[in-house]
């Protein structure tokens, strides 16, 4: 089932945007209020619940020991999946992940993987035989738009909350997951000619294009994804990239603050 929107709401949103306004009075580059709570799930090795406005997601990290991939025998393995469970929206259905959930999981995964977030070499126990597997499971509870940022931020915060359960598996002591970089995704939606950050559901429904830019603390790009059928010109993409670096930095400070609190 597809998300639908009434003509009158659609026209209202267009009219507002033409005047440079948004439905909830935010600026074009303004996030909704972000709330991150780590350590939320006792049965997980690490977890984070992220509320981005009314969008609500839980990310849980589970770890296990398994075989490495043949081409990276000395590195741990990350497996990322997203579940758009029917609890979260009248339009989600039960069943195996469909293409939107798969794209979401892959975009978050790319940020973590290409951003070199986890020191994967330290997760090797026995080369070619035994390495740590990290399962990143993203569970959407309430869907009010922009799952890419909510899940990406949640995955990052949950990884930083993770304790590797060495004792339980008899391979050494428990220790925090070795983190190299803190990456943050920011997602822009293009509605006609207007770019807006962190679209809420009504805005997402009328968006023509979507661009997610994931950056690290050095201000480098680590992953990007353009979605939907709308098109961007080079200047628009550059504008998103520059904004993403700035906005990413403030979210990064928030995520870092959470793990410092813990220490």
């Amino acid at each position: 089932m597809k998300e639908i929107i009434s003509k009158i709401t659609k026209e209202y949103l267009y009219t507002l945007l033409r005047e440079g306004k948004r439905i909830d009075d935010r600026g074009m580059d303004e996030h909704r209020e972000i709330n991150i709570e780590t350590g939320w799930i006792g049965t997980a090795e690490g977890s984070a619940r992220v509320k981005l406005g009314d969008t609500d997601v839980i990310v849980g990290i589970k770890m296990d020991i398994g075989e490495p991939f043949p081409d990276t025998p000395d590195k741990g393995v990350v497996i990322t999946s997203a579940e758009l469970i029917p609890l979260a929206s009248p339009h989600y259905e039960a069943g195996p992940p469909r293409e939107d959930a798969t794209e979401l999981a892959r975009v978050v995964d790319r940020g973590i993987r290409e951003g070199d977030v986890v020191n994967m070499s330290e997760l090797c126990i026995e080369e070619g035989e035994k390495v740590w597997l990290i399962f990143i499971d993203m569970h959407v509870l309430d869907f009010d738009g922009n799952l890419f940022d909510a899940c990406g931020i949640g995955a990052m915060a949950a990884l930083m909350d993770t304790i590797v359960p060495g004792e339980e598996h008899e391979v050494g002591e428990d220790h925090p997951l070795p983190i190299n970089h803190v990456v943050v995704p920011t997602t822009f939606s293009k509605i006609k000619d207007q770019m807006i950050l962190d679209a809420r559901l009504e805005e997402e429904r009328i968006a023509d294009g979507r661009l997610t830019v994931t950056t690290n603390e050095e201000g480098h790009l680590v992953a990007m994804q353009k979605g939907l059928s709308g098109i961007f010109d080079h200047e628009e993409v550059m504008e998103c990239i520059h904004k993403s670096v700035d906005i990413g930095e403030s979210i990064r400070e928030y995520i870092r603050g959470l793990s410092e609190e813990k220490i």
Partner: protein, 250 residues
């Protein structure tokens, strides 16, 4: 049940592993109306269990051949998050959750005035975010509050609780180790206003006398839980009235 026991479940003072008495529930908290998209919702914590329930409907039922021209179909889905248990659970339904979903659907159908909504569906989704024994009882308890929060016409809510037997004693609301190492487990759900039983399972080994004792404990606890359910709804809707009064003052 049935795991080899390597620990005492009751200490010399007659207290259980977590310090509870035989007839004592774990702490239960319920909050109604926590999700925006759902028509009704509830978040329940029960000891270390964390459970979220959402209700959608009455709405059109797909596929159409599943529609019932005389009544609504109540479809409950019990699902465990992969991170809700110590060893990661593979996402998706397994035999256990399919069975629980079926029992929940049947139990809830009894209290909903289904004849008022022919051809439609009332969907109930329950997510177990963290599991620590007794999740099916927690699921039904939370689902009932979410149904009421959705404004679905119903005769009553359902309250649910398990009792069981550990170290030869009949006790209420088994915790994790008690469930694994105990001798019997009896999950029960009742319609509190009539006292009728709407869910009953049992596994383990009980004498008839022990069964009667277990039922008495569970049913008393269900009434206690019913109060918590009603309080959650009152709290949710009294807030709305307060804000309405605020508006009038302006």
């Amino acid at each position: 049940m049935g795991m080899d026991k390597d620990m005492d479940l009751i200490d010399e003072d007659g207290l259980r592993l977590d310090g509870r008495k035989f007839d004592e529930l774990r702490e239960i908290n319920i909050e109604a109306g926590i999700l925006k998209r759902a028509d009704g919702s509830a978040y329940l914590t029960w000891g270390k269990n964390k459970v979220m329930a959402a209700v959608y409907g009455p709405r059109e039922l797909h596929p159409r051949h599943a529609q019932d021209p005389s009544k609504a179909v109540v479809q409950a889905r019990y699902n465990m998050a992969s991170f809700s248990v110590p060893d990661r659970k593979r996402p998706g339904p397994d035999r256990r959750s399919v069975e629980i979903s079926k029992l929940m659907s049947e139990a809830l159908e009894e209290i909903v005035f289904v004849e008022q909504f022919p051809r439609s569906a009332v969907d109930v989704f329950v997510e177990i975010l963290e599991a620590s024994a007794g999740t099916r009882c927690a699921a039904i308890t939370a689902a009932s509050v979410a149904l009421a929060d959705a404004g679905i016409p119903m005769s009553d809510m359902i309250a649910s609780c398990a009792s069981g037997k550990i170290d030869g004693h009949v006790v209420l609301d088994l915790g994790k180790n008690e469930d694994n190492f105990g001798e019997a487990d009896v999950p029960v759900a009742i319609v509190p206003r009539t006292g009728k039983i709407t869910l009953l399972q049992m596994d383990g080994n009980l004498t008839i006398e022990e069964y009667e004792e277990a039922m008495e404990l569970a049913i008393n606890a269900c009434h206690e839980i019913y109060d918590i359910q009603r309080e959650a709804l009152k709290k949710r809707y009294s807030t709305s009235i307060d804000s309405y009064e605020d508006l009038e003052e302006v």
